[in-house]
């Protein structure tokens, strides 16, 4: 009897992610810096923009520019349609239930300030507490400090372990009857830690405490679904997800947004104005006073479409491979210490080198055409935690390659040569 022969399945093609094709979409990448091909590894600071985003913004200004929500003429209608279409794209991208839950803001920073100044101002009383974590970006610290100071409330900080992971028991212990809000990063820009947001939300919700998530670093690197996370607010910036600067998104659960007072006053956020009394507009317009950045959401929509077309899971896998490879190669170099070694990490490789200040590393790498960030990454408390003034940070994007990591490694060796 013939032996049954199993069909010779080729290894299933898990992803046909073609990084060279992706790179062709990014005009800025094709240049030399100090005589070397640009190696852009500063994606946690900001990402580069694909042709599709640049074209969408240009097209808007060349064909459709007009003010929104206030004209009967054709251009105004077109501009309004595009602006609102972008809101629906952002809604779908985040998995929000209702497009009224999407508020366009300037950035993550503005989104957090908005929540602090509206929800915070309305709900915090003397003695109350806001709980943040030791790995927050300054923009997820200072707005809370400001409102806490004003309301005589207290800012509490959940600690992290040596690897850069939040300590669950400590976090839970800090959730008390005084806690009125929790704010946590989904992905730390300084350490690369991915926080188990779903679990934190569960713990907080068990005590009826709402949670705001700073998604600035996460949206471009991980699938995000606000309904699955069940978070109450979620913020991100367009420029960190291949979109333009000057535009960001605040997601908030509808009931919360409706109960919140407006943030800024002005046009568009009202439904009627008299000197005696003004009636505010409905959400989301209540939070979008004045003429907004109209090209911003249009560019952002193009960026979200771009990421969706590539597939966030594919991007995640690609970047994880890069991070794994970079971690292996960089940590094998002498005198290197990685800062942030959480089990669940994404996109960010922070390190220090014995005897060499990160700033000097940055200058020498720049001479090789390699762009990394050096400094405290707007997370001074994190630096303090590790007893260092700064780190060097390489952060990856969907267009980076293994060859670029090899260039980084050679660059670091050059640093070691210079400093002998």
């Amino acid at each position: 009897m013939a032996v049954a022969k199993f069909p010779d399945f080729a290894q299933p093609e898990v992803h046909d992610y073609n990084v060279e094709r992706v790179r062709a979409d990014f005009p800025i990448l094709h240049q030399k810096v100090h005589g070397h091909p640009l190696v852009y590894l500063d994606n946690a600071a900001t990402t580069q923009k694909p042709r599709q985003v640049i074209d969408a913004i240009t097209h808007y200004y060349e064909h459709d520019n007009a003010n929104i929500h206030r004209g009967v003429h054709t251009l105004s209608q077109r501009a309004t349609d595009e602006y609102e279409h972008a809101r629906r794209t952002a809604q779908e991208f985040l998995g929000a239930e209702d497009c009224r839950e999407i508020i366009f803001v300037r950035s993550t920073t503005e989104a957090i300030n908005l929540v602090a100044q509206t929800y915070g101002r309305q709900n915090l009383k003397p003695g109350d507490e806001v709980l943040i974590t030791a790995m927050e970006h300054h923009s997820d610290i200072v707005p809370w400090q400001m409102i806490c100071e004003e309301k005589q409330a207290k800012l509490r900080v959940a600690p992290i372990n040596e690897a850069g992971e939040l300590i669950l028991e400590d976090f839970e212990r800090l959730l008390t009857s005084k806690t009125k809000l929790v704010a946590i990063a989904h992905l730390s820009n300084a350490l690369g830690t991915v926080n188990p947001v779903r679990r934190f939300v569960e713990m907080a919700h068990a005590k009826n405490i709402p949670v705001m998530v700073d998604g600035a670093q996460a949206v471009a690197r991980l699938p995000v679904n606000v309904r699955e996370l069940d978070c109450d607010f979620y913020a991100f910036s367009g420029h960190k997800i291949y979109g333009p600067t000057g535009i960001g998104v605040l997601y908030g659960k509808l009931a919360l947004l409706e109960a919140m007072p407006p943030y800024q006053g002005g046009g568009d956020m009202i439904s009627s104005v008299a000197f005696e009394r003004t009636v505010y507009n409905k959400v989301p317009h209540k939070f979008e006073a004045g003429t907004p950045d109209i090209s911003g959401p249009i560019g952002l929509k193009a960026a979200l479409d771009y990421v969706t077309r590539l597939g966030i899971e594919n991007i995640e896998r690609h970047e994880n491979e890069l991070l794994e490879y970079a971690t292996k190669r960089v940590s094998a170099l002498p005198g290197i210490r990685l800062i942030g070694t959480a089990k669940n990490k994404a996109g960010v490789l922070s390190f220090v080198m014995e005897g060499v200040h990160p700033h000097d590393i940055g200058t020498i790498l720049d001479q090789e055409g390699i762009a990394i960030r050096t400094g405290h990454h707007c997370a001074q408390p994190v630096m303090e935690r590790y007893g260092i003034p700064a780190t060097a940070r390489a952060s990856f994007g969907l267009y980076n390659t293994r060859e670029e990591i090899d260039a980084l490694v050679s660059g670091i060796k050059k640093v070691q040569e210079v400093f002998g």
Binding site: H357, P358, H359, T363, I364, G375, Q380, P389, V418
Partner: protein, 148 residues
């Protein structure tokens, strides 16, 4: 590597590794703290003046190779100089690292090794941090100076 070799000259690397006058002056009559928020460099400069003359000068803190070497060589150069001479030298040093004015080697002395900084505009703040801090100390400013 030409530019890099100009920036990281042997003398600079050596001073950054073994900074001179790296200590506190107990009972310093002038002292100031300088901070570069961009990269986290932070130095304290201590002075002991005798009338108009700098009798002793020292520094402490942390920073990159350029800022540390600059602080170290500044303290070496200024010992025994008057306030006025120190101010003037800072002006020339500033010209040197920003590539303006091209002060002569004889004016700059050992500090001439910092001329390479002018090719690296992002590093001018590093090279001048200690000097700004010195200025604040001489002027008796209370607040930490910042290069921002």
């Amino acid at each position: 590597m030409g530019g890099l070799r100009d920036l990281y000259q042997e003398v600079i690397l050596e001073h950054s590794k073994v900074p001179r006058n790296y200590r506190e002056i107990a009972g310093a009559d002038h002292k100031a703290e300088g901070f570069n928020p961009l990269c986290g460099d932070r130095f304290t400069v201590y002075l002991h003046l005798d009338g108009e003359t700098i009798r002793d000068i020292s520094f402490q803190g942390s920073g990159c190779a350029i800022s540390k070497a600059s602080a170290s060589m500044m303290t070496q150069t200024l010992k025994g100089k008057t306030r006025d001479e120190a101010e003037k030298l800072f002006g020339k040093f500033h010209d040197l690292v920003t590539g303006q004015g091209h002060p002569s080697e004889s004016e700059m002395g050992k500090l001439a090794v910092f001329s390479g900084v002018s090719e690296f505009p992002a590093r001018v703040k590093c090279a001048t941090l200690a000097w700004h801090t010195l200025q604040a100390a001489l002027e008796g400013q209370q607040d930490a100076v910042s290069t921002e």
